[in-house]
Symmetry: C2
Subunit: 144 residues, 2 copies
DNA sequence: TAATATTGTTTGTACATACAAATATAGACA
DNA sequence: TGTCTATATTTGTATGTACAAACAATATTA
């Protein structure tokens, strides 16, 4: 009976899957000394040097305070630096940070292959996109 | 480009969806003063009074230490009590804990309706089951 | 221009979760 | 019986995330 509730509860299943994949992802990214979200943040910075924290939060769907904390850590590891401009804090990657780019991409690919090998690449990707859309709808990002 | 990576990353989408639903669930369960996983734990105890912590962890897919901490809190609120039996810690619900049963069930139903209203009841349930199965496979609980 | 509102960031605090090591008990077996 | 191993739980510590309040800078408007 509880089991039925668990299988029917999106709160539970989404978080459980999150935990399972977090473990896989952390494991994968340990090789470049980054947390998975740190890697995403760095990719966002590669794409737009000088991006603001607010924008980073929007892209990664994290709260501003969470972004502040993540950035603190990465500055501490000299992967990025920030330049305050009025009330904005703009983020740039350091040389050390830039050097990680190829490894990071490699890690994402490997991670995708790893769960793809179990779920099937197609099914894994389809599920992933479906989750993305579900979040968008639940957050009201897409009408109806 | 980053956006593409995010939409294609199951680690990211599962955790994002988890965060969205955690907020909804916490909001819903605030009315009975429980965290969502506390509610699940209590349901597991209703179902089997004297259940061990190990078993609880298996059902909720949480690590033993996490279960210990969750139980500490709920004992603190007098919703459950434990009885040590050799190396086992068996968990029972108190009268105060038992009294919550109807409210808890109500909350789950309301929560399901809430996201069901956005995703569609059918689609929501289908997605939920799919996530459950994906976790099982990724954890090697199901061959092939 | 002064007062007020808005916006972006940080700080203090709290929670859920986990890992690794420690502890305690039970079981196996020599 | 005594020792070794396996099992269940707890403890210490760390991480990721968030909320609310504080702070700082900009924009608005009276």
């Amino acid at each position: 009976m509880l089991d039925t509730y668990l299988k029917e509860c999106l709160y539970f299943t989404a978080n459980r899957l999150g935990r399972v994949l977090t473990k896989m992802a952390e494991d994968e990214f340990a090789s470049c000394g980054l947390a998975p979200n740190g890697a995403f943040l760095l990719m966002a910075v590669y794409e737009q040097e000088g991006i603001t924290q607010k924008k980073l939060g929007e892209m990664l769907h994290l709260q501003p305070s969470t972004v502040t904390r993540l950035i603190e850590k990465m500055i501490g590891r000299s992967l990025i630096y920030n330049q305050v401009e009025g009330r904005l804090s703009r983020i740039y990657s350091t040389d050390k940070g830039k050097a990680l780019q190829p490894q990071i991409q490699q890690c994402w690919d490997t991670l995708r292959d790893r769960y793809g090998a179990i779920l099937g690449i197609e099914d894994g990707d389809r599920l992933t996109l479906e989750l993305y859309k579900a979040s968008d709808r639940l957050e009201g990002k897409i009408q109806e």
